[in-house]
């Protein structure tokens, strides 16, 4: 892990400047002698015990574009100030200029490691505003649950992989990346894209499972427990891993409540708060799974919670795929049947390549004028959502992901705000890391698993 001494503020002729903390040294390369000389010159004027170090936005171990400004007393961190905003994309404002359906493609890129969760929470909010929650087809809900749990495993794999990478253990990352590749293959098969799929749409999902998908899922379910066991055998009792993560980054229940922290951090304190159990959505109450908790409140406990959650997710995926494979009623759509809301066409291979399915084109051009009108209105204008505001929340791999959607009766979101768990959880890093060693900052940040796309949106 590298630390760089570089500072902010305009430089003077010798590269020093006065900042709010005292003298600031800009190290640009080849000038270490000048820094030493400046230090010696200014030694009588300032407190040389505390060193302010910038772990800048470009850093291998800060889990994304996160800037940490550390005040160090030797190796101990006396103050840690995180600076975010380096990935601010204006997603929420962009959504105000697109239709409700197009908003899915934007919100999916907020927390880019859990795109299905972003899409689902937004679509649940839109469906709640429309008042059509009960009319979303059951198959769509099962598909949403299955995709969410697959995404949960993929996200936890990345979390554990980058945890190891940031601690310097590259093997962990390779194991985790291998598993994630399999899940991305499944995503590609079902949604068409490896990441940022615009799969969940208001009213259902965009398309049904293709041929061979259930077999691929079964094969995945057969292999994954062994791979998880492999990963566990590498980490669970690894003395180096334990030494770096046990009793590190302690945040107990009071701290979590005060700081609004949810997700594996909260479950690592012993409180089994999981929105899938307490405020279920998409039919989660009908699935049989546990909520794993630990009570050590440290980084190691959170790692155990995450890997246990992967096991539980496998159970849910198995139950969901059993339901999807079961006997199907004659009319089993995956998109709401209300033609004024449900997205009309599906992509399919036709004679001239990939596009709207030829059946649908034949229907709207030859058979039904209403269908043509609905298609036209939905694609150009979008559907209108009655006035009001809602807040829906799902349990994303990082915590409670909420969507506050406000409608003014039009075809565009008046305001769509994503309450991202990483944004809230990242505030806790100061509480976790201050007073500890600088090397403990890395597991602290990694155990929060912040995704900067969600933090900054």
């Amino acid at each position: 892990m590298t630390t760089q001494a570089s500072g902010t503020g305009g430089p003077a002729a010798d590269g020093t400047a006065e900042g709010t903390e005292g003298r600031v040294y800009n190290v640009a390369g080849g000038d270490w002698d000048e820094v030493v000389r400046a230090l010696q010159d200014g030694a009588d004027q300032e407190d040389t015990e505390h060193l302010v170090v910038n772990m800048g936005p470009q850093h291998p171990s800060t889990h994304g574009v996160l800037r940490l400004v550390l005040t160090l007393d030797g190796e101990t961190v006396t103050e840690l100030r995180p600076v975010v905003g380096y990935l601010h994309t204006g997603i929420e404002k962009s959504m105000e200029f697109r239709t409700w359906t197009q908003g899915v493609t934007f919100c999916t890129r907020a927390d880019y490691l859990s795109p299905i969760f972003n899409e689902t929470v937004y679509c649940l909010a839109v469906e709640k505003l429309l008042g059509v929650e009960a009319e979303v087809p059951e198959r769509a809900s099962i598909l949403r649950v299955m995709m969410m749990e697959l995404n949960r495993i993929a996200s936890h794999m990345t979390a554990i992989g980058t945890f190891g990478l940031e601690l310097g253990a590259t093997t962990v990352f390779l194991y985790a990346a291998r598993e994630r590749e399999r899940i991305l293959d499944l995503f590609e098969l079902i949604t068409g894209l490896r990441m940022n799929h615009a799969y969940v749409r208001p009213g259902g999902v965009s398309q049904d499972l293709p041929r061979g998908a259930l077999d691929a899922i079964r094969e995945f379910l057969g292999r994954m427990p062994h791979q998880l066991a492999d990963l566990r055998s590498l980490l669970d009792a690894n003395p180096l891993f334990l030494a770096r993560t046990k009793t590190v980054a302690y945040l107990d229940l009071t701290g979590c409540m005060a700081l609004g922290v949810t997700g594996p951090l909260l479950r690592g304190t012993g409180l089994p708060w999981d929105l899938r159990k307490s405020q279920p959505y998409c039919g989660y109450e009908t699935y049989d799974f546990e909520v794993p908790t630990q009570d050590t409140c440290d980084a190691y406990g959170r790692y155990l919670v995450r890997i246990d959650e992967c096991d539980e997710s496998l159970k849910i995926i198995e139950q969901a795929s059993d339901r999807l494979a079961g006997p199907r009623p004659e009319h089993d759509p995956v998109m709401i049947s209300d033609p004024k809301i449900g997205w009309p066409a599906k992509l399919a291979l036709g004679g001239d390549g990939l596009g709207n399915s030829p059946d649908h084109i034949a229907h709207i051009m030859g058979q039904s004028m209403e269908a043509l009108i609905h298609h036209f209105k939905l694609v150009t204008e979008g559907f209108r959502v009655p006035v009001g505001q809602v807040y829906t929340a799902v349990e994303s791999p990082r915590g409670e992901l909420g969507c506050h959607a406000v409608s003014d009766g039009g075809t565009r979101p008046y305001r769509a705000h994503l309450r991202d768990p990483s944004f809230t959880n990242l505030q806790a890093v100061s509480a976790m890391a201050e007073g500890g060693l600088i090397a403990d900052v890395i597991p602290a940040v990694a155990s929060i698993d912040p995704v900067m796309g969600g933090v900054d949106r």
Binding site: V84, G85, H88, G90, E92, K93, S94, F97, R98, K128, L129, G131, M257, A258, L259, G260, V261, T262, L271, W273, S278, Q279, T380, E381, G382, V387, G388, Q389, V390, Y391, A393, E400, G402, H404, V406, D408, G409, G410, T411, R412, Y414, R415, H417, R419, F423, T424, L426, Q427, D456, R457
Partner: protein, 241 residues
């Protein structure tokens, strides 16, 4: 629309009164198809949709909302204030309870909601802002989402402040999690949270001017050239609504 002259010189009937009130409401949307100039020969271009009166829900609210309102009301009265003084309006919509709180009482109400055992809203999901540009005098709304883990309940608090005086007391002393959320709301909307320990920009660069998510702030896109054609940025494209 037309004034029904009441018979016998009695009071104007309710329909006429309601109609007059609606006419005085502010126009939210005009036209039907987005285009105002040429191309619209349907006559729907003259359509004017007006904002309705501010909604409120009368008692009983249903579900657990009555319990929450009663508990809050009891405590507020015991503290010598009263429910109606602190809470402007209560809205129950789509299964959610929204309390519109007056800004002077926000911190007290939040503290009650957190500490009172029958309420116990321990977790605050954060605060975000909404900018209602046309709502003169109440343009900026700060919205707080609270979760009670003990009772498994949700609640929304909403505070409305005018553009001219966008100050809201900070709830960081009650819910420290709102620290960054209030900074973000200041950054994007310009709502000043009095009492916040360090209200600075968090997402935008420190020297940014303006508050980007306000409705009067442009989206800021640029026109895109592609093979000889130019596509205007999203906020300047033709709107179909």
């Amino acid at each position: 629309m037309s004034e029904n002259s009441p018979p016998h010189g009695a009071e104007p009937d309710e329909a006429a009164l309601a109609g007059q009130e609606r006419l005085s409401e502010q126009v939210v949307r005009t036209g039907m198809f987005g285009t105002q100039t040429t191309g619209d020969t349907s006559g729907y271009g003259g359509l004017q949709v007006r904002r309705g009166p501010p909604p409120f829900t009368p008692r009983p609210y249903g579900s657990y909302f009555d319990e929450v309102a009663d508990a809050l009301s009891t405590r507020l009265e015991a503290d010598g204030g009263g429910f109606d003084e602190a809470v402007e309006r209560v809205i129950v919509d789509r299964g959610e309870l929204t309390l519109h709180v007056r800004r002077e009482h926000l911190v007290a109400v939040a503290r009650l909601l957190r500490d009172e055992p029958s309420l116990a809203f321990e977790l605050c999901g954060g605060v975000s802002g909404v900018h209602y540009l046309g709502d003169v005098g109440r343009e900026l709304h700060a919205v707080y989402h609270l979760v009670s883990i003990t009772h498994n309940r949700r609640l929304r608090l909403e505070v409305s402040v005018p553009d001219a005086d966008p100050h809201v007391p900070s709830v960081v002393s009650v819910y420290p999690t709102c620290n960054w959320h209030e900074r973000e709301t200041w950054d994007f909307f310009g709502i000043v949270f009095d009492g916040h320990p360090a209200l600075t920009r968090i997402e935008m660069p420190d020297d940014w001017k303006g508050h980007p998510q306000r409705k009067d702030y442009p989206l800021g896109g640029i026109p895109v050239e592609y093979r000889g054609a130019t596509v205007p940025p999203p906020d300047e494209r033709r709107s179909y609504t």
